[in-house]
Structure formats: structure tokens, C-alpha cells
């Protein structure tokens, strides 16, 4: 059991840190520490330019194989990259859905033609992707999707009709991957297809959802006979659920270490604030600050255990606690931030509704325990899959 990174990984750390120091400045100075969950609407054009800058230098998709322009970076190197990126204040990656979800899914399940068509523009930082899973009646119950895919025999294309919701960055994205029902007779996870759809077409309408922060990063997306080429379905019609689930499997990867470094930045802000406003003399707040510190450190070691692989290669039960763990921790951090701010937590930066970063974080952390599988769904999954407890009887739908 080794905690430390190797000398070559540490050398890699220096390389990426130096590159970031030399490049995340000048025109990009304004986007340091910006973007990411809760701040996804900020500096979109600058962050797209930054994505291309990363792409030129080979700092996108570093875990991808050499064949598709990646560095085939080891898990350790990816961890180091994500840590240094967040430490330097690298902005929330606007290309992350393509890089961490769509790309790996295509590499594993896509045809050669699909890989050649879509991977290079993800790798170069040019193509932004969004995710079309959730629907008004398919939240936690994702298999209940109603969006239909009908094959037009004459035009030899798929036509997609329906509504998606909670789609981050939909208005900024060129492509969307969509789970839609190819077999209208089928129910649940049967009869679904996984489609890659061009967002720039007449059949697509996007409507932003204003959140409690007053900002909008989520959208509703309406498809009205939106067209999808027959070459742009991943897997066969009817295999959409398997592909959709495999894609989610890529989500719990190395990027979580970068997320933790963002959490560390927020935590450091809270510590500094407590030292400057006297909150550090309140015994209860001291306890909670220490508790947050403990929680964040343990989050790191939970992740390192998962990334190191299990001891005997069996299903890694400890990986299943990750979402529940970080979302609960982060929600508590939001409340801690407000309590450290004290009565000032109520005062905004400016009219009409300009929240500071900690206020925005506090409000948005209430979403953390909901999106990507609510805490309640996570507990069901842990109990059923890791502890082998029986499922509750299902309702009829």
C-alpha cells in the first residue's frame, strides 16, 4: 500500500503545473476558478477558447488512447493532471461531457466511422456535447423515457420527438446524446436507442430553466422530428439502455479528484474567512470546520482506493458510496460557509441578484444531492447492489 506518487508522476505534475502557470493567464486570467457546477453559465466563449487552447497543447482527453490523439495517461497521471488543473484554478471544463462520457463510450462501443467522425473534434476542444437522458417523467426512473425515435423508411433517417430536461449547456452544445424509445410497444429499459444528435437543426428548441440562484445552466430541450442519421445510433436499436448505462459507468472516474480540488479551494476560502472575521473563535464552528476537513481528506482516500482497484478484483462496493458521500459533504459545506459568514451571508454583492461565490455555492449544493441520482436512489443502489438487500416491489407503469 503506497500513498505517494512515483518520481515520474511527480515530474509529470511539474510539467502540467508549469504549463498552466504559463498559459492560464493574460486573456484567460478572468476565467480562473470560474465555470463548473453552479457557475456553468459564466464566461462561455472564453472557456470554449480555453478548451481549444488545451486541445492544441495536448491537454484534453489525456486518458484516451494514442490512436485517438490521447496520451494514454495512466490513472496516476490523470489524477495528477486533475489535481494540478484545479489547484491552478483551471476553469470548469466546458468540454467535459464529450471528453469523459461520450468519447469513452464511443471508443468502447462506437463503430470505426463514428469514432472517426466524432472523436477528433472532442479531442481538439471544438465540439461541445450535452446529455439527453432525463425527462419530466423520467428522472430517477430513467427507463421511463417517452421521447420517441421513428425510422423514416423513405429518407432513411431517424426522427426524434419528445422533451428532455435538466440538460446542462444545451444552448452551447453542438451535439447531444439522446436516449429515445425505438420500439413504442416496449416498456422500461427495453426498446430504447442511443442517438447522437446535431443540435443545430430546425427540430430542436431550447428553453433555459432559471434556478434558485437566478442563473440558468440547465435547460429544457424539445425535439420535434429532429433528424438523426442512421449512422449516428450507437449500438443497435433496442440496445440503448446498455449503452446509456455503460456511459454512466465512465462518470465515476478520475475527474472526481479534480472536483475534490475545487472543493478544497472552497474550503480554503471558508478557512480564510473564518480567520479574518473571528468565526474561528466559535467552538462549534471550529468543530464543523475540522469536520469538513476530515470529510474532504477521507473523500480523497476513498477515491484513491477506488482508482487503485480492489484488492481482489471483485466488484468494488466502496465505489458505490462516492456520489452519496460527496453530495452530502458538499451540501454541509454550503451551510458551513453561510454560518461562517454570519449575518453577512444575507447581503448580496449587487442588485438585482448578484450572489458571491460562497452564496452561490450554498444555494447550488442543494442540487448536488438530487442530480446524477438522488441520495435516496444512491442508498437504494448501495443497499441492493453492495449489500444484497432485496428490491422493493415495483409499481405498475
Amino acid at each position: 500500500m503506497k500513498l505517494r506518487f512515483s518520481a515520474s508522476d511527480e515530474a509529470f505534475r511539474v510539467e502540467i503545473a508549469n504549463w498552466l502557470r504559463d498559459n492560464l493567464c493574460g486573456e484567460f486570467e478572468s476565467i480562473r476558478f470560474r465555470g463548473g457546477p453552479g457557475d456553468e453559465h459564466s464566461f462561455v466563449e472564453e472557456r470554449k477558447a480555453w478548451e481549444r487552447k488545451l486541445g492544441e497543447a495536448g491537454w484534453t482527453c489525456i486518458g484516451w488512447p494514442h490512436d485517438w490523439g490521447g496520451r494514454a495517461a495512466s490513472i496516476e497521471q490523470q489524477v495528477v493532471f486533475n489535481e494540478e488543473y484545479a489547484r491552478a484554478g483551471g476553469p470548469g471544463r466546458i468540454g467535459h461531457i464529450g471528453e469523459t462520457l461520450m468519447g469513452p463510450t464511443l471508443i468502447a462501443y462506437g463503430s470505426e466511422a463514428q469514432k472517426a467522425k466524432y472523436l477528433p473534434s472532442i479531442r481538439s476542444g471544438d465540439a461541445i456535447w450535452c446529455q439527453g437522458y432525463s425527462e419530466p417523467s423520467a428522472g430517477s426512473d430513467l427507463a421511463n423515457v417517452k421521447t420517441k425515435a421513428v425510422f423514416d423508411e423513405q429518407a432513411q433517417v431517424w426522427q426524434i420527438t419528445g422533451q428532455k430536461v435538466w440538460t446542462s449547456l444545451a444552448h452551447e452544445s453542438q451535439y447531444c446524446f439522446v436516449v429515445a424509445r425505438t420500439d413504442p410497444q416496449a416498456k422500461g429499459h427495453k426498446g430504447l436507442g442511443f442517438f447522437m444528435l446535431d443540435m443545430h437543426q430546425p427540430g430542436v428548441t431550447i428553453r433555459p430553466i432559471e434556478q434558485l440562484t437566478g442563473t440558468s445552466e440547465f435547460n429544457e430541450v424539445f425535439f420535434d422530428s429532429a433528424v438523426c442519421s442512421v449512422e449516428d445510433i450507437v449500438g443497435k436499436p433496442g440496445e440503448g439502455w446498455q449503452v446509456a448505462m455503460a456511459l454512466l459507468g465512465f462518470e465515476r472516474g478520475v475527474s472526481t479528484l479534480g472536483q475534490q480540488m475545487l472543493f478544497q479551494n472552497e474550503f480554503n476560502d471558508i478557512v480564510q474567512l473564518a480567520k479574518s472575521n473571528g468565526a474561528d473563535r466559535d467552538p462549534m464552528l471550529r468543530q464543523r470546520i475540522a469536520e469538513a476537513h476530515i470529510g474532504l481528506r477521507i473523500m480523497r482516500y476513498n477515491t484513491l482506493r477506488v482508482l487503485s482497484g480492489s484488492d481482489e478484483g471483485e466488484l468494488q462496493a466502496e465505489g458505490m458510496i462516492y456520489k452519496l458521500y460527496w453530495s452530502s459533504w458538499h451540501r454541509n459545506l454550503g451551510k458551513l460557509a453561510m454560518d461562517v459568514m454570519g449575518s453577512d451571508s444575507e447581503i448580496l454583492d449587487a442588485e438585482p441578484y448578484e450572489l458571491n461565490r460562497l452564496q452561490s455555492m450554498f444555494l447550488f449544493t442543494r442540487a448536488d444531492t438530487i442530480y446524477g441520482g438522488t441520495n435516496q436512489i444512491q442508498r437504494n443502489l448501495i443497499a441492493e447492489r453492495a449489500l444484497g438487500m432485496p428490491r422493493e416491489p415495483r409499481g405498475n407503469n
Binding site: 500500500m1 482516500y301 482506493r305 487503485s308 443497499a383 453492495a386 449489500l387 416491489p393
Partner: protein, 388 residues
């Protein structure tokens, strides 16, 4: 970075699991805890002679196995899991680190040899020093010799220890000044060992009363006159990590026996394990057990680095406090939930969950509870100019 057990460490853990699960059954624990020493002496002979676990953290040149804290933690996780009654932790995780950190080479050879032969040793000091010195033993050092007076409470396995490492404060010293550590044999004249009745009967604590114990300067660990307050803190940190290991094992087993029970229990025509209210409690318990385990393995790695001179005492203190604070609450949470999940039978003496609940409470308050360790971390985070 390879944050998982090596093949050798897996073997050590599996061996411990197989052995302890066989010798420390529910019936064996219930019988051992009624023994005068609080454990089965024949079993301890087997552990110390055949399994040789007390030798895990003793260097090979001194006759030990030369393994590290990770291996010790992996073993103690299993002893904690099955509530093993034994002086292993006191000897291997309290006395051995104290000797390795503070004793001279001659003393190490002498006293570690006694431990390798199966003697029981323990540390007579059970407080972390968040609230200043908690030492109630005074060392009166004169040209004629050394006299020890005072009381040391909460001494783990003090009833049966062959020798003690006693923390004392020099007379007229205050705070962390003048703290020294002493080897004291159990038959030393003036030493009274009183057994303290404990809520957790699987783990015995004693009180040492020192009435003018006459010691020679050679019995001082390190045998030189220097304040050992900082060393004592590090010794207690290493001990706290060992306690965490037993807590992690206990937290895991509290979950496992509860899940096994509720899968069998049928109400309203179905197993209660199928109800979400029950499942969600179990999910929270698993989160606590796994997270405590991650914190423990991290702290054990840091302990090895510290013993190899690769990190400083502050880093060790941080790791120990993180691990002890988290695993203390995790074990208590899991044992408490475990009783609730058992329903009525959870509060009977027949079912084992009550033994875990008592063990959880005992280990939580031992060597600093969660809030004491959090305050210690808060000092590092908030009161020093250098941030972590």
C-alpha cells in the same frame, strides 16, 4: 500511488481473519471476558507464540517480523471485527511504538525481546494532550535516584501486564515541560494495580497507583534527561491509529451482522431488508464503514512514513486525528443503528450487537474522542500561520 493491499498484506489480513473468526466466536468472547485477566491466557500464548503478531512492527534485526503499521492495522481490523479479547493492541501498538520511538538501543533490545517472548506490555497514559497535561504521576529526580508517585488511570490490560511504560511529569514542572517515560515492572515495590470495572467487558482497564516507586536512571526511556512530551504525542498518535483499526473492524461487523439478521426477519409478509427505511440506514452504515477504512489506511501509511523518518510529527498528528475522529463516530453510529435494526432482540444480552455497541462507546472515548481530535485539527487549521 497504489492505495490497496499488496499480495503479502492480503495474505496477512486473510490469515488474521481466518484465525480470529475461529478462536473469537461469540461464545469464546463471552467466556474470555469473565476471565480474571479479561482474556484467555492460553489463546494469548497461541497468538504470541504461533501467530507472532506482536512481532509485526518489530524490526527484523531485533528479532521481529519487520513489517509496518499497514500490516498491523490489517490485523487489528480483524481482531476488532471479532471482538478478540487479548492484550495484542496494548503490547504491539502501544508499548512497541513507545519503545521504538523513545528507548535507547540497549533498552530496545532488552524490552522488545521480552515482548517477542510473549510478555504483555502496555502504556500507562491514556489521554491526548488537547487540554494540557493529563499526567498525574510525578517523577522526583534527584542525585540519589528517581521516585515515582501518583496515579495513572485507564491503563489498557494493566491487570495482566508484565511491564509498563509510565508517563510521568517531573516534580515542579508544568504543562508539557519535563515529561518523561519509564519502564516499570509489575512486581516493583510500591506499585498497586487496581482493576477498574468497565462497561465494555471485552476490554480491561486498570488503575496504577505508584507509592514512592524507586527506579534507576536506566529505567528512563532514552536514558537521557530530555523532555519527551512531543515523543509521547507521537506514541499516542500511533496508538490512536491502532484503535481506529479495531473501530473499523467493529463498524464493518456491526453492519454485517445487522444485515444478516434483517434478511431473515419477516414482518408484514416480507423480509424487513426490503423496506427502504431499513435499506437506507444500512447504506449509511456502509458509507461510514468504508470511509473509516479509507481514513485508517491513509493514517497507517502515514504511520509507516513517520516511523521511517519520511514525515514529521505534525503530519502524523493530523492523520491520527482524522482517522480517530472519523472511525470513532462511524463505529458508534453503526453499532447504534445495528441495535435499532435488530429491534427488540438488539437490547438483549443474547445477541452480539450489544457487545459491539459497548465496544464502540469504549473505543470512542479512549485516546481522545471525536470532538477532541477535531479541536486538535482546528488548531492546526485555524490557529497556526502555516496552513496545511
Amino acid at each position: 500511488m497504489e492505495f490497496k493491499f499488496t499480495d503479502e498484506q492480503i495474505m496477512i489480513r486473510d490469515t488474521a481473519e481466518a484465525f480470529v473468526s475461529e478462536v473469537s466466536t461469540s461464545a469464546a468472547v463471552r467466556s474470555a471476558m469473565l476471565e480474571p485477566a479479561g482474556y484467555d491466557k492460553d489463546l494469548w500464548r497461541k497468538i504470541s507464540a504461533d501467530m507472532f503478531w506482536q512481532a509485526l512492527p518489530i524490526p527484523e534485526v531485533l528479532g521481529g517480523l519487520g513489517l509496518g503499521y499497514v500490516e498491523l492495522a490489517a490485523t487489528l481490523e480483524q481482531t476488532g471485527r471479532f471482538l478478540l479479547c487479548s492484550p495484542l493492541m496494548a503490547t504491539a501498538a502501544f508499548a512497541v511504538p513507545a519503545i521504538r520511538l523513545a528507548a535507547s538501543e540497549e533498552q530496545q533490545a532488552l524490552y522488545l525481546e521480552r515482548i517477542l517472548e510473549g510478555q504483555v506490555a502496555t502504556l500507562a497514559h491514556a489521554g491526548i494532550q488537547t487540554h494540557g497535561s493529563q499526567i498525574n504521576v510525578q517523577a522526583n529526580i534527584t542525585d540519589q535516584g528517581v521516585g515515582l508517585n501518583g496515579i495513572s488511570r485507564h491503563v489498557l490490560n494493566g491487570q495482566s501486564a508484565d511491564f509498563f511504560i509510565v508517563a510521568a511529569e517531573e516534580t515542579f514542572a508544568s504543562g508539557e515541560q519535563g515529561i518523561s517515560l519509564w519502564f516499570v515492572d509489575r512486581d516493583t515495590q510500591g506499585l498497586t494495580i487496581k482493576s477498574l470495572p468497565t462497561m465494555d467487558q471485552t476490554r480491561r482497564l486498570a488503575e496504577l497507583q505508584c507509592d514512592n516507586l524507586v527506579l534507576s536512571p536506566e529505567q528512563r526511556l532514552g536514558a537521557v534527561a530530555q523532555c519527551q512530551a512531543q515523543l509521547l504525542n507521537s506514541i499516542l498518535d500511533l496508538a490512536a491509529i491502532a484503535v481506529s483499526a479495531e473501530q473499523v473492524g467493529g463498524a464493518q461487523q456491526s453492519l454485517d451482522i445487522s444485515v444478516a439478521y434483517i434478511k431473515e426477519r419477516v414482518q408484514f409478509g416480507r423480509t424487513i431488508a426490503s423496506y427502504q427505511a431499513i435499506k437506507h440506514k444500512c447504506a449509511d452504515m456502509m458509507l461510514k464503514a468504508e470511509s473509516a477504512r479509507s481514513g485508517l489506511y491513509y493514517a497507517a501509511c502515514i504511520a509507516d512514513e513517520f516511523l521511517a523518518g519520511a514525515c514529521d510529527a505534525e503530519t502524523l498528528a493530523e492523520a491520527a486525528s482524522i482517522s480517530k475522529a472519523y472511525s470513532s463516530e462511524a463505529f458508534f453510529f453503526n453499532a447504534g443503528c445495528g441495535i435499532q435494526l435488530h429491534g427488540g432482540v438488539g437490547i438483549t444480552s443474547e445477541y452480539d450487537i450489544q457487545l459491539y455497541f459497548k465496544r464502540a462507546k469504549a473505543l470512542e472515548s479512549f485516546l481522545g474522542n471525536a470532538s477532541e481530535h477535531r479541536e486538535r485539527l482546528a488548531k492546526q487549521l485555524l490557529d497556526s500561520e502555516v496552513s496545511l
